[in-house]
Symmetry: C2
Subunit: 113 residues, 2 copies
């Protein structure tokens, strides 16, 4: 049988936010560390860092405020704007998922094409 697949993201000066960045930011929120957030989702630190920086550039504001050094090496936390964006996108994305699944069922459920 078939399998539904999709990608949904928003653009602003190019691709700017999607489910990947959302997950990464969630990890930062939970761990307080960009490095650990990246590790948790099996992403290299440099990739995570470049991702965040490129998004911040396109958005025109910062998503995380980081400090390096200190006993724990450093830390990162989300900005208020990041939290707003995450919430908006997550609600949007969840609703999209739900609807796409329904529509897919409707059209492909009993199809043996």
């Amino acid at each position: 049988m078939y399998q539904l697949k999709y990608k949904i993201w928003i653009e602003k000066n190019g691709k700017v936010f999607g489910i990947g960045p959302l997950m990464l930011l969630k990890g930062v929120s939970e761990t307080g560390s960009l490095s650990e957030a990246a590790r948790k989702m099996d992403m290299s630190y440099n990739k995570a860092h470049n991702l965040i920086k490129s998004i911040e550039k396109k958005l025109g504001y910062e998503l995380i405020s980081s400090k390096s050094g200190g006993s724990k090496g450093g830390s990162s936390e989300l900005t208020e704007k990041a939290e707003e964006l995450m919430m908006t996108y997550e609600n949007f994305y969840n609703e999209c998922e739900e609807n796409l699944r329904k529509i897919y069922q409707k059209h492909f459920k009993n199809s043996n094409i």
Copy 2:
């Protein structure tokens, strides 16, 4: 402001059908020629041909029946199954588009994040 972007496709032994193949098959239907259909959408013939062949392989049935030679060089036309698949996917895709647009509006309309 943001811009919504998405890709929706179905898989079966890997990516198998999406808006691109649909457009190409529509072109074949209209022109009676895979070559002309490809040209119309600025796609090279070999790419179009490989695309159709790889999809047919994954699906396990043929999408176009082609003959080469003859005064017009050759021709291609859609199989019945191709037309069924196209119709199913197109209806599905249109409904997805409509819904995604609405959901996007709902969440991002008055957002200045």
